[in-house]
Symmetry: C2
Subunit: 441 residues, 2 copies
């Protein structure tokens, strides 16, 4: 028997707000950050996890992780990994901490970081990248990992089992295909609000040259500027390239409808986060009013219960799961199965720091074992900060190449974590020194 | 000009899990706790606020409060109090921290604690208890304090203004009436799941003798026991006493409907939290299936956007606002006006520690200036921990008596805060010592 002997956390932040990379109508100055966690077993095995944040408040996630970690330290690792459904409930449903959510916000994200670190341990033990690890689990074990509480009216364990059993047909071939050809990506890199028209066009044309056929632009600053940017993109790229737009929850419902109808002539493929992601009825009203433009949402959807309703209400055309918003792998398995049940494509949110590395596993697994299709499906790609990970994502011909290293993809180089530890890491000291020079210079 | 010179936090917890007070089907061992905050101005003025939690994780709220407080320290107090709408947005919509919610969970509750401390300062300056302070503000100032973002499709600033202007008629008389007669209370004290039938009946009869005509029982453990407890209550109290029941989100939608239909013969007045409070469509389905039993929810509703939808979807008969779940006074003003717009009575959640002291102000204000009626309206009352506050609530003839002291009611005795500081306060040292004796004895 080996137990979890330590849970180490690190507050890792990158000074991305110094550039305007990552800027949108709502998130104006993000410092892409990771509340990083490392589970260490007595026998030396390790599991890594992270929660993505925008900088300030990263330490609050760390505080919640440390609280939650008390429920892991000293526990039998074999027992935890032998029943990851029970282990995740243990972390999410602490009888006192659940008041802080329940199942939302800081406490839920922190629990998810620890849950993911357990899956990282499990996949490493098996010597498989997460997607391959999931794809070889018996359907019953996947179902046992899922908490059906508050979603059973839309998806029962039996229905989930049926979906996974149907997914077994052709799975081996699909895995081979994924290993050979990868999975489609789309890119957000050209479209940040802070970029000049010239930079946006140059990066868009470059993306198309690299093979991307879906590009995303941030919108929601002002409607005239959105119209100009969309017109320029259409003039430069023609009608065959899909252009998605993203408002980051900027609008109220009537405003969203009015604004989006002024963009219709440029045929945006989807509008992402037109309003609060808490607003299920609002998304449904917007979708009805702006068809055929698709509605996408999910990076801020805090749990499977909101996704369930977005699907029940016919409020979304595209479901955008996020790897560190919900409570880890288990809840994202529920999300994938809900999407399959309702016939809605999943196009994961990525970018930030580590999100591409983490979330790709869900799309690979989905193709291998759940939906079995790549139609209208893409993983977001943003070309930031990949160099800090032990297995940075590889994009070839505008496709994510199948990750190969054992684990979930969360492991960041120790050197990067040390250098960008906030606020005392060497990188941050240099930022502070430069700022001091600017102020006095 | 005076500035905010310090923001002090304290992690105050009470060992209530040692008794079974406060136990229900989901919250089995709460240690009622307060993440307590004190704003201190250069000139010595103070504002107090707190966020209620169940124990573990209280320190996570504190961590978020400390982060958020950086946006107050050194700020001009007059400017903050002169525009509490702007001040609350400043705290809630930090461009980096909003990722942790947005507007939900730990970060939202922590911001709310600080917002409430600012209102405490404002009301103290005016020498008025919060409800009187609110009731004398011009309608335009109330409206200016509210963030209509993501609710304007259901309630516009103009509609809010209209409601408040209509509320001005008869306001002075209603304030007099509140000062003389108070506001109806209901009691949850008899109904905790951990109590024996005998204790439940004794406390219920005592409550009726004290004048209460609405009593609440926790349900959701097992249906036979719920039926037995309801039958005993009905036999003891007759048909004229209203009995509400509370499942604390214990059920999925189909289970809720089946379970509740087995309790119909005892005519529960409302079922509270039959399922996840994130599940707007689920509440609507349950409400439709169990009429005429009313559906109530709100203590875990994380913001005005969820309340908006519960009202739009016809999912609730009773709206239960909470004083420390949402982002403070401003957001609860939005909630009261939404309820009025949709004609749904507000019966606030209270209990825990300090929630009665805080939330009563909203019902008093609602009667004085918003709905102007007490029909089907009650404030929850639980007789716990009031002695720690400088102005404990007063219940007379089963009615809350109007609070008189300037401020929001959040101020806890310094001695209580010190004694129950976690984990090193004297009270907790004694608990630890007793536990050690029990273990070795």
């Amino acid at each position: 028997m080996t137990t979890i002997s330590a849970v180490e956390t690190q507050d890792v932040r990158f000074p991305t707000s110094l550039e305007l990379d990552g800027s949108d109508a709502v998130n104006v100055d993000p410092d892409y950050s990771a509340a990083y966690v490392r589970l260490i077993a007595e026998n030396g095995e390790e599991g890594h996890g992270l929660v993505f944040t925008l900088g300030r408040g990263n330490e609050v996630i760390i505080s919640a992780m440390q609280s939650c970690a008390q429920r892991l330290i000293g526990q039998d690792l074999d027992a935890l990994l032998g029943d990851l459904g029970a282990a995740s409930k243990r972390l999410i449903h602490d009888s006192q901490m659940r008041w802080l959510g329940p199942e939302k916000g800081v406490s839920h994200m922190a629990a998810g970081g620890l849950v993911n670190a357990l899956w990282d341990l499990a996949a490493r033990r098996a010597g498989l990248p997460l997607w391959r690890y999931l794809a070889q689990l018996p359907a019953e074990e996947i179902v046992a990992a899922i908490d059906f509480t508050h979603i059973s009216d839309a998806l029962s364990p039996d229905e989930a089992l049926e979906i996974l059993r149907a997914g077994e047909e052709g799975k081996a071939q699909r895995i081979e295909q994924l290993e050979a050809e990868g999975y489609p990506a789309y890119t957000t890199s050209p479209g940040w609000l802070g970029y000049s028209d010239e930079k946006m066009l140059r990066l868009s044309q470059q993306a198309v040259a690299e093979g991307f056929d879906l590009i995303k632009l941030k919108v929601g600053g002002d409607v005239e500027s959105d119209r100009r940017r969309l017109r320029l993109i259409r003039e430069a790229l023609g009608e065959d390239i899909k252009v998605a737009i993203d408002a980051n929850q900027r609008w109220d419902v009537p405003e969203a409808i009015e604004w989006l109808n002024q963009l219709q002539e440029y045929s945006p493929w989807w509008i992402e986060e037109p309003t609060s992601t808490d607003d299920i009825l609002g998304h449904a009203a917007i979708r009805q009013a702006i068809a055929p433009m698709k509605v996408a949402t999910g990076e801020a959807v805090h749990n499977r219960i909101i996704f369930k309703q977005l699907l029940q209400a016919g409020a979304i055309d595209i479901m955008q799961i996020d790897s560190t918003r919900v409570a880890g792998v288990n809840e994202n398995l529920a999300n994938l199965l809900l999407a399959k049940k309702f016939g809605v494509p999943v196009c994961p949110h990525a970018g930030g720091v580590g999100l591409c590395e983490l979330v790709q596993h869900f799309s690979f697994f989905d193709y291998a074992a759940v939906s079995g299709t790549q139609e209208n499906r893409y993983i977001e790609f943003v070309d930031h900060l990949h160099e800090h990970f032990t297995e940075p994502v590889v994009i070839r011909n505008a496709r994510y190449q199948a990750p190969q290293q054992p684990g979930t993809g969360a492991q960041m180089h120790a050197e990067s974590r040390t250098r960008w530890s906030f606020p005392h890491g060497e990188g941050w000291q240099q930022v502070a020194d430069r700022a001091a020079v600017t102020r006095t210079g």
